[in-house]
Structure formats: structure tokens, C-alpha cells
Symmetry: C2
């Protein structure tokens, strides 16, 4: 559709972004200085600074104090809601599937595994009183040593407390879902709610984000064959690092004929 | 998890946000002035201004030149990928389903309906040469007179050019999918890819957004029973106005036992 004329700094940001996409400034490389850009584009340094600010918000570049501005090194990772569960069955933790597809080195770091108070919002989805504990498996995932997501999985404590494998970082073949299946709570149906927001201070630190870089918050719920919600997982994922893929069938019946 | 101490303006933003949630400042109401807040919190006006800036980015408030700062009036709208198609069968256009569920007054404004050059990214999904035209149905959706999304649907021109109803804003009962079914291209399978980004200048204008308010870009693809991609719809939706819901079944087979 028709675009209105762009602000000068937006035009400069788009020119630099195009050069990044063409490979003029390759992934991980250091950009020319603001002075250099100001000279090249015939504008003031504050204008260049605003353009760089836009590229920083959108995740195209990283600005490191004293180390200059570098081009993003990770390409966007596609997270397919269905493929990832298929991959679990071959023994790969779902969280690492996507990184491996792109030949990125993936790593999961557990922050906490154990019994916790259930956050009220999680309790209401699990259908348990907020006074009932949960088993929390909280982890940060990395691709090529860059943090790509925080994932906090909550399981009702009463149903999972006797499963020793779930208390360990490596829950074994098929991951935590494999263990749930063994104790009679194998997930067969899933829902995800996706929202977007700015990152908290803690998320900025853990995920190496600017306050202007939005995150996806995915509330993933796994249900057993008897429709019991057995897991709520809250994923927090920098938006510039991910695309989310979903698919479904639906027969559209003709009406009104 | 452990949070680091928050910046003062972030704390003030959170206090104001909590008051909005509690109803101290109801939807659509005008917030106290920055001077009032500065006095109340014992901080400088620039600190309050930064706090308001955060609330503005997150969509909690709107700042109108000369009209002060008002609390957001629309609650977040939940878009359920499955329910919306069921609703089509009862004759409601899918785009208006969610607004109606919340008793919001919904309205669709068509910007353009007709033959256009197919954007290369759309052509590759539709599996047609970029030289082949598409039928574009481009619209803006409103809830209570606030713009909530831009939706641009592309159909292969060669397959849809003879369908008169598709050339009109109101495509009839069951919407465009009803018409596609009648000409033998009824969609039965769907995929959606969700990404997030900052809005373009044009999107800021149409959707009444600040440059710091991110949008969802959903690439929705509809496939026929013979797996022919018959529609690509690009939805652009302010993130603070929406949550996106998906669901699927999957049998997790135990392995490695």
C-alpha cells in the first residue's frame, strides 16, 4: 500500500539493513563508526545514532559499550509447533530441535529444578489450588552460546513427585514427556497462547536484551488423554530471534445455500 | 526468579500500571498530569515522563498532543485460530469474530479489492510465478472504532477472477472461504507463521501506533483438499491489543524402552 515519506533516520536504518541482508556487513562483523556513516550519508551524528537505535531495537545489530556495533550473528530460528514434538520421539529435547536444524550448537542450562509454590496464573490453568505445590523445571536455552529463550515448566507436584528422572536436568530419552507417559500422564493435546511484551529487567539480563526489544511469551499447556492439564510451560523468547509456526485442519462446511 | 532492583521510572510505571489494573484509573480516563505524579512520587518530571513512555510503548496508555494521557480503552482480544473458522460457518466474517465475543462493535473497512501484482514472498507461498497477478482483498478491522488489524488476503488471480462475489466487500455468507468452496477451492488446512517487528510508518498511521509498539505479522496460508495454497493473508496486529491461541493433537510415542 502507499507509504508516507520516511524520516531521514528511518531511511538510513533501512539502507544499513539492506546492506546487512545483502552481506555487505556480514553476521558478527563490526559496523562502520557513526562518524563514518554521518560522513557517507551527509547527516549529523545524532541522526545516525537514531538510525542505529532503530536497528538495535529490531535486533539487527548489537551495541557493546567500547566494542562498537556488530551485526546480529544468529539468523531467525523457526519454531514449528508440531515438528518439535515429533523430534522428541527421536530423543532430542524439544527445546533444542530448532537450533540443531540450523546447525547451531545448542545447549540447555537448568536454573532450577524442584518443588515451588505454584504461581496463581499457572495454578488456574493446571486446575489446582494455588496452595498446592508444583515441580518447576526452569531453564535457559542457548544457540551458539547466545541465549534464545527462558522456559519454565510447571507440573502438579502431587502427580510428579515420585518421578526421580523429572528431578534431574537430563530427564532421559524423550525428555520430560517420555517420563510423563511412563507414569500414565502422557500428553496428547496441546494449546499455546502467544502474547508480546517488553522484557523485564531480569529477562533483559538473562536474554541479553535492550528494553526496547520485545519478547514473545508463550503459555504452552499439555493435556493427557483424559484432558488433564499436566504441564504449563512459560516460554519467553526474544522476538527478533524467532518465528512461530502453527498448522491445523478444519473442514469448512458450506452454509446458506 | 530473582529480579534485579528496578530503575526508579520502571517502578513508577509499574505502580501506575497496577492502578490501571485495579481500576483506580479506569479505561478511557485521563491520567493525572506529569506534574501531579512528580509531586506524588517525589521525583523529577523527566523521570515521570520516562515512566509514561514505558506505559505508552506497552500500550497501557495513549498520549495525545494537547489532550493529555488516557488509559487504554480496549482490553486484549483473544484470537483463537480454530474458533474463528467455526464462526465463519455461522456467517460471521472471521475477522470480526473476536471483537463480537467481547461485545465490541466491530467494523471492516476495505482499502482495496482487485487485481494486483503478486508480492514475491506471497507468490512463492502460492506457488505461482511472481509475474502472475493476484486478487487482493485489503482491509482494516476496527473494534469500537479503534483500528485492530490490517489484513491483506491474496488469491491466485487465475483461479478466482471469475468469482464476482470475491470482488465485493461483502463476499456473502461464509465470507471469501464460502465462495472458494463454491468454485471448488474450499480451504481445509491452514498454517500460520507468527513474527514480531516494529510497525512501518504507514502501519503506525493506519493502526494509530507509536514507533515503539511492536506488531504481530501473521502469514496465514489456506490450502485446499488437494494441498493447493489458495490464499495467503498477511495480518498486521498491534501486539498490545491481541493474544493468539493455537491448539493441536499429537500422540507422543514412547521410545527407547
Amino acid at each position: 500500500m502507499i507509504e508516507t515519506p520516511r524520516a531521514q533516520y528511518t531511511q538510513i536504518a533501512e539502507t544499513i539493513r539492506a546492506r546487512i541482508e545483502e552481506g555487505t556487513y556480514p553476521p558478527g562483523s563490526t559496523l562502520p563508526s557513526e562518524e563514518d556513516f554521518a560522513r557517507e550519508f551527509g547527516v549529523t551524528r545524532p541522526t545516525v545514532n537514531r538510525a542505529i537505535g532503530q536497528l538495535r531495537s529490531s535486533g539487527d545489530v548489537k551495541v557493546r559499550r567500547g566494542a562498537g556495533t556488530t551485526v546480529r550473528s544468529l539468523a531467525r530460528i523457526h519454531r514449528d509447533s508440531r515438528k518439535r514434538y515429533a523430534a522428541r520421539q527421536q530423543g532430542t529435547g524439544a527445546g533444542e530441535v530448532e537450533a540443531r536444524e540450523l546447525n547451531l550448537e545448542s545447549r540447555t542450562e537448568y536454573r532450577q529444578i524442584g518443588r515451588v509454590d505454584t504461581p496463581p496464573a499457572v495454578a488456574s490453568v493446571l486446575g489446582i489450588p494455588a496452595s498446592e505445590s508444583s515441580l518447576l523445571r526452569s531453564r535457559v536455552l542457548y544457540a551458539n552460546n547466545e541465549p534464545t529463550q527462558i522456559a519454565d515448566s510447571y507440573f502438579p507436584w502431587s502427580k510428579t513427585k515420585d518421578c526421580k528422572a523429572l528431578m534431574k536436568p537430563d530427564a532421559g530419552t524423550g525428555g520430560s514427556y517420555g517420563r510423563l507417559a511412563e507414569i500414565g500422564y502422557g500428553p496428547v493435546r496441546f494449546t499455546e497462547d502467544v502474547t508480546g511484551r517488553t522484557p523485564t529487567d531480569s529477562e533483559q539480563r538473562i536474554l541479553d536484551l535492550d528494553p526496547t526489544q520485545w519478547v514473545f511469551e508463550i503459555r504452552h499447556v499439555a493435556y493427557t488423554a483424559t484432558d488433564l492439564p499436566i504441564e504449563v510451560c512459560i516460554h519467553v523468547m526474544p522476538q527478533h530471534l524467532w518465528s512461530l509456526g502453527y498448522g491445523w485442519e478444519e473442514s469448512i462446511v458450506e452454509t446458506g445455500k
